[in-house]
């Protein structure tokens, strides 16, 4: 059984490992078949990338992802807490709204944002991307953190209120410090979703605010087929993702399905 599992894992990972190896190969080596197991690894592809415009795009990706994450948390965490304590009607409708925002096809937001950004001159700006990334990340925060707050007993903040704390003080002094691990996992997932975006950046940026995923694709379209650089670019994009995903792997189900399953 275990052998079978190992074999299947290797098989499933082979395409991914191939790309990883490719990023260290020279062009001649890439076209060689059967491949040599021990080839002379080169960092030339990475070096070529780092001296090109790709470096700016990589920076853009970082800025946009971090900013969108921070904004989503600042706006979304209080909302998640408020919804968790919501006792009125309409809870189901709000849940549907948040889920649908998360699941909507990107083009549904891209068309109106594109039209509005043309007038606000936000096309091809980092600000424009940060705002549109809120459409999915804000929903994600609310939906990751709400079940978390559902589990915290109300008596916690009620005790604080009796001692004369305001609602906000109760939230910031009592509830927020208890949210640590959930917050960290949510922040990482927000970062990943923003970092992984391709569609919004493809439509809403041109040159100035271009993010790394779009920049890599441009290697395919405009500069001929430079497989080594494409592989190196892909590897650089996936590196932070792999590291962070490993850290939050226990929260992945939750983040992708919004607690449809408590796992």
């Amino acid at each position: 059984m275990q052998t079978l599992a190992v074999v299947l894992a290797l098989l499933a990972l082979a395409p991914f490992l191939w790309l990883l190896l490719m990023s260290f190969k020279t062009n001649a080596e890439i076209f060689r078949f059967p491949p040599r197991l021990l080839f002379d690894a080169t960092l030339a592809n990475y070096a070529a990338l780092w001296t090109s415009e790709f470096r700016n795009s990589f920076g853009n990706s970082l800025i946009v992802s971090v900013a969108s994450t921070v904004l989503s948390l600042v706006i979304g965490v209080p909302a998640a807490y408020a919804l968790s304590r919501w006792t009125g009607r309409g809870g189901g409708t709000i849940t549907l709204w948040i889920l649908a925002s998360r699941m909507a096809p990107p083009i549904a937001f891209t068309i109106p944002y594109f039209l509005v950004y043309r007038h606000l001159e936000l096309l091809d700006t980092l600000t424009g991307l940060i705002v549109i990334y809120l459409t999915f990340n804000l929903s994600l925060v609310i939906w990751m953190m709400r079940p978390f707050y559902d589990q915290l007993p109300r008596s916690l903040e009620e005790a604080a209120w009796i001692d004369g704390a305001t609602m906000w003080q109760g939230f910031y002094r009592i509830i927020l410090p208890l949210s640590g691990p959930g917050l960290a996992a949510t922040a990482i997932l927000c970062f990943l979703f923003a970092w992984n975006d391709f569609f919004f950046a493809l439509i809403l940026t041109r040159t100035e605010a271009m993010t790394a995923p779009v920049a890599v694709v441009n290697f395919m379209n405009y500069e001929g087929w430079e497989w080594g650089r494409i592989a190196a670019g892909g590897t650089m994009i996936m590196l932070p993702v792999l590291v962070f995903s490993f850290v939050v792997r226990r929260y992945l189900v939750h983040g992708l399905t919004g607690g449809a399953l408590k796992g």
């Binding site: 909302a79 709000i94 649908a100 083009i107 993702v241 992945l252 399905t257």
Partner: protein
């Protein structure tokens, strides 16, 4: 705390309304006067009914969704059953199997572009060395959609696997123990106890994948660009072409409204199934 919800409304509900309004115009970026021209509000929707390229895209979408969801559920389920044991090696493997799902979609697309490009593909290399003459799959009419389905299944089978594994860990052990005492075989255990227990999870996982399959974009954009012909042009992709290649934002909005409606309906189904909103504290 209402301000937070107001922000969410501002960035999601308002654009959705704007999209709906645009779908009642025939906005074309090459003709600025078409913006806010509501003189023929239903024209774009009438076009939906008569555009055969759109109808083709819906059919492609159905084929893509059906096969990817089915294969992902099947492979994910089998792997979860295989990996549902406590050992250090298996737990490490579980993490390894998650990699395709967490990779940036664009990287997944690049990986498969490499595999489907005969010059540099290890797969084609193997085919050649055993004497098979296999055409480039993504440009072959018989194989283009299948090659997208394979890549998409590879990317997302871990999702079902992860959800089923999580459900399996919540399974009451007493139930299994009791059946074992009664002499049930491993197959009977799986068939009569495990499968009924995870049926709900499979359904929810399938629905999530179904909604996501409507959004399929990077794979198609990188691998086939909708071709050859329109064989891999799903509705979402066609809508993208109409809006951002042909500049017909009005018509594209009408298509997108239909896609959005489908998304909301499926999301509603999930909310009902999971029982959110009817929580009893």
């Amino acid at each position: 705390m209402a301000p937070s919800l107001a922000v969410l409304a501002l960035i999601t509900l308002l654009p959705a309304l704007y999209l709906l309004a645009t779908s009642f115009t025939q906005l074309s970026l090459t003709r600025p006067e078409t913006q806010w021209d509501f003189s023929q509000p239903l024209e774009s929707y009438r076009q939906l009914l008569s555009d055969s390229r759109l109808h083709n895209s819906v059919w492609v979408q159905i084929k893509l969704s059906f096969w990817t969801v089915l294969l992902q559920l099947l492979i994910g389920l089998l792997l979860a059953l295989l990996l549902n044991m406590r050992s250090r090696l298996i737990e490490a493997l579980r993490t390894v199997f998650l990699i395709p799902m967490v990779l940036p979609p664009i990287v997944v697309a690049i990986i498969w572009k490499v595999i489907y490009t005969p010059d540099i593909s290890p797969m084609h290399g193997i085919f050649r060395s055993v004497g098979w003459n296999v055409p480039a799959l993504i440009t072959d009419p018989n194989w283009a959609l299948t090659s997208i389905i394979i890549a998409d299944t590879w990317e997302w089978f871990p999702f079902t696997m992860l959800m089923v594994l999580a459900a399996l860990q919540m399974m009451p052990q007493e139930l299994l123990d009791a059946a074992k005492v009664d002499g049930a075989s491993p197959w009977q255990l799986t068939r009569h106890i495990t499968l009924p227990f995870i049926r709900g999870v499979l359904l929810v996982a399938g629905l999530f994948r179904l909604i996501d399959s409507i959004k399929a974009f990077p794979l198609i954009f990188i691998l086939t660009d909708g071709g050859p012909g329109n064989l891999t042009e799903v509705t979402n992709y066609y809508s993208y072409l109409q809006a951002f290649n042909f500049s017909f934002l009005g018509f594209s909005s009408a298509i997108t409204v239909a896609l959005l409606a489908a998304t909301i309906a499926l999301s509603w189904l999930i909310v009902r199934l999971v029982g959110w909103g009817s929580r009893v504290d």
